[in-house]
Symmetry: C2
């Protein structure tokens, strides 16, 4: 009986659909269906646009928005997250596939599928090993910097579609210099379409809802909905124009022939050399995608006091990517914009995602012939408007004001993402954050402390009025002792004793901030003890924490320690203080 | 006036020779000359042998023992350190040059010179930037593991010379399998010479001094000196045998023609591709060589209460390597064995090194014809006996008993050095140490604390009998708060509050071990504050350190904090405790 319940719980945990599915109501269905319709209309142009950004044929964007949504609906724990192609991951896909130099479109599409598959397998493996915490290596400033820099990079990369020129660069300086060198080659009909679409889309985002409410008396809800599905009007309008005026004859690039039908199903062409080349980008894409997705999911869950399970999210995103790789798609993740729209439009359960998938399948089956005359400039405008909202460089000022280390990490991330691409940028950001953390812990703060009068509390003699004793040096070590700072600590303690040599008889190390003493530090402490002994000075410890003390007891250090270990700094000071101090 | 004195001090600091040189006495001269003679006799076979280990012609070992010693005498701060070719650096040189696939000996020698030059430039740069602390990234267990594994690897690599077979592997499994597969091809005269030399050298090291004193009444000092220069007898004996019996005819490999004359002087052939290939190994060699050298220098300085300057040592070792690269040598460093011999033989100043250089120059000018018949098996035996004394696997047991993280680092270092070579081994050791450190700080210990009765001291409620209050949760966070643990902390605090929800009105975070709060952690603290506020719980901080408080004051966190910041945990508890607690 207990075994059965345990099994059921395990299964429910792995298939959250069993949990929300059994209580599914008519009200849920209404909410989910409404959300699905709105999200579908929003996703059609976005899916096409992001495929374009990834360098893929437009239909791949649609395919990546069908099965992955169903997979997330089965495995995901967020009620509102909408999975599919997103801007940053599309950019990363382009940057992973570009170095392969695949001239054949079919090979390029297959490689994108393999990337999704590898990314999915990696995510599932992380979930199975419960390694979601690895994502915490990306600090907030690094993520913020990376997203902003990616937004700038993406917007810049889309300029070529707005201008009707051909640019092959993948970094900000490359793209900008190529755009300037070809400024004479711009295609004016394309620029007109592109600028008009941009202007319309900015208006849709910023002013349309207000205008509709104020001037046309439309309800707030309807106006907000119209703003969300606004991009579809730009798509319809410019496609119609291109068809009527036969704009391709005037050099306006259009989407062209898009195959109609079900997404292809099955494994993409896999060879080991390709897998070897894609494994590192796949891991990076997985981690970035996961971080983006989980933070969106957590934000939305908090609003309804729901909880998401970060490790199950790994499984769900992994399943989404595997299904994307097996159905002609490319790497996907939970997107910010679409999830917020899904949530605001009233999605109650992951079923909304499944309904959206049906909508997009219908688009793939029936609407693709209508996309022939859709100008690429319109899609580029959609991308630019979407990603510019991601750019927020205030993180630079914020980080500068708070901590130079955080500033260095965010600055390095932004600069290197722009200058050398997304992979180098994010890897540098993580590297700089970790290196600065190690650097800080390797050069710890050490405070000489004294007793705050009338209390049993000890604080820095430079910051507070405190009692001290000429025969006692009390040093509070503000860091765990480990290999990177062990030697420095040894030198620092000895230097302090040499400084006031004649009077000093006791050194007390106040260990309230020492959370760890590793083997290197233990050897340094032994050496310090010996060297102080040679000078006739006793070494004492105070406020050693339980776990640290347990470990010291396993070594021989305490047998050779010339002084004692005291429970508190106050006890140590009381026991050792001389008559001089009592008079002070 | 002040300016002049400052300049003089600066110059003296950069040229320590000016400091000890001006007080040089006749007694110093006697000590230095005696030491130089003994070290010269010891160094001749060792230099040849280590050149062999590095895959270089024998004379390169001599050249690397001349100018570098003079350079160290000028720039070095240790009075007893003896610089020259050493076992581990020779092995690393071989492993750096092997992948270049240089068939021509002259190219190979030139590449070794470039390696020394690059290593020297890197060391000087580190010294100029005062980056000696970088070496502290190598923890004691990693160094110990690396030295032991290198010793095993070197000894194994020399078996081919003892057996007279040809082995090309560079890792332990490769070498062992090649030795076994060729066991039928051994050359018996070589084995006889090799085993005899090995037996003699082990006896010299372990038993000769005692035998000389007990059976022949030789004085202790003379016996110890004989033991030190013992290897030269093996060299003379086996060379004589090889000449008389014409052993090369029976397949015994000998050193052969060694050019006579001054070392070549000038820059080796440098091309940019070579520099690119050697830069990473050069950095690794520099760091390992520096760590070995500085720890020997510090050990010997401590015995005479002298001090060495770690940053000036970088300059001195850099100068040694540059001069080695410019005089036909290869990378050098301060060696353990030779420095101890130098110290024990009475070296008083670095002049002993300069005198040794003169001795080795004499060897290069006059003795090389005598080396023709020196069997390579003898040199291999010299190496094996020298390096086996470096092997001490007790570090594994020691680390296991003290800390599993230290054990993991040392085990990874040993296993990967043996299995994949020195570069992978030491890089893995450093990587594993750092990763485990970050891993530990990312999953910190958090203790719920209460007041130790009769004191103002607060300790873990699970380890001590303490007073608590049902309305107050006091959590001592045993780690700096930073991006890798920020989210985890947030979840942990919230989970604790949810656990005892109804009664809790205050959460006090005791920050005595929080040495840093970065921007990510600040955002998590703000979120925690907000989430606790929604639950009707106030958040307080206590014992926030000066530097952390300074930074918090620069943010808006304190404006939104629902509770207060208290100087001590005792104050916080006194101010917040309810009537229930007073009764407890």
């Amino acid at each position: 009986m207990l075994g059965t319940r345990f099994r059921t719980e395990q299964i429910q945990r792995f298939f959250p659909i069993l949990d929300w599915g059994k209580d599914y109501t008519r009200a849920n269905l209404t909410g989910d269906l409404t959300a699905a319709v709105i999200v579908t209309i929003m996703l059609i142009p976005q899916s096409l646009a992001y495929a374009l950004l990834a360098g893929l044929p437009a239909e791949v964007g649609l395919y990546a928005s069908i099965l992955p949504l169903v997979a997330y609906a089965i495995f995901g724990t967020s009620r509102a997250l909408a999975v599919g192609p997103v801007a940053v991951v599309s950019l990363m896909t382009a940057s992973a596939l570009a170095p392969l130099g695949l001239a054949n479109v079919a090979d390029y599409v297959a490689a994108a599928g393999v990337l999704a598959l590898l990314s999915g397998l990696f995510l599932v493996a992380m979930g199975a090993l419960r390694l979601g915490a690895l994502a915490s290596l990306l600090s907030h400033p690094v993520i913020a910097g990376f997203i902003s820099a990616s937004g700038i990079l993406i917007a810049t990369s889309q300029l070529k579609h707005i201008l009707g020129i051909s640019v092959s660069g993948h970094t900000f300086p490359e793209i900008v210099s190529q755009v300037f060198s070809q400024i004479g080659l711009v295609n004016f009909p394309t620029v007109l379409i592109g600028v008009a679409a941009l202007g319309f889309l900015f208006w849709v985002r910023k002013g349309m809802a207000r205008t509709l409410v104020r001037k046309f008396g439309v309800s707030e809800y309807l106006a907000a909905t119209a703003a969300r599905i606004g991009p579809i009007f730009a798509v319809i309008g410019t496609t119609f124009l291109a068809w009527v005026l036969n704009l391709p004859e005037y050099g306006v690039a259009v989407v062209g022939q898009v195959p109609t039908g079900f997404p292809p199903f099955g494994l993409p062409k896999i060879d080991l050399e390709l897998v070897g080349q894609l494994i590192a980008p796949a891991i990076l894409i997985s981690i970035i995608g996961y971080v983006e997705s989980v933070s969106v999911a957590q934000t939305l869950a908090a609003k309804k006091k729901q909880r998401i399970d970060p490790n199950q999210e790994l499984i769900a995103l992994g399943a989404s990517n595997i299904s994307s790789g097996m159905s002609g798609g490319y790497p996907v993740t939970g997107g910010f914009a679409r999830s917020v729209v899904n949530y605001d439009a009233g999605a109650e359960t992951p079923a909304a995602g499944a309904f959206t998938a049906v909508g997009l399948l219908f688009a793939a089956l029936a609407l693709t012939p209508l996309l022939f005359f859709l100008p690429k400039a319109t899609l580029a405008a959609t991308i630019i408007v979407a990603v510019l909202s991601l750019v927020d460089l205030s993180i630079l000022k914020h980080a500068w004001g708070y901590s130079k280390a955080d500033f260095a990490a965010v600055f390095a991330t932004i600069a290197l993402t722009l200058a050398m691409g997304v992979e180098v940028g994010v890897a540098t950001g993580v590297g700089v954050s970790l290196a600065l953390f190690v650097w800080k812990t390797a050069r710890p703060h050490v405070a000489e402390v004294g007793q705050v009068p009338g209390t049993q509390h000890f604080r820095n003699i430079c910051r507070h009025q405190v009692l001290t004793d000429p025969e006692i040096v009390s040093l509070r070590i503000d860091e765990s002792l480990y290999f990177a700072n062990a030697r420095r600590m040894e030198d620092m303690i000895l230097a302090r004793v040499h400084h006031g040599r004649d009077e000093i008889r006791h050194v007390i190390l106040m260990c309230s901030a020492v959370n760890e003493i590793d083997l290197s530090a233990l050897e340094s402490l032994e050496a310090t003890n010996q060297r102080l002994k040679d000078l006739g000075v006793k070494l004492h410890l105070s406020e050693v924490k339980g776990p640290v003390m347990d470990r010291l007891k396993r070594s021989h250090f305490l047998d050779h320690l010339t002084g004692s270990v005291f429970l508190s700094q106050y006890e140590a000071f009381q026991a050792l203080k001389s008559d001089t101090a009592a008079a002070a």
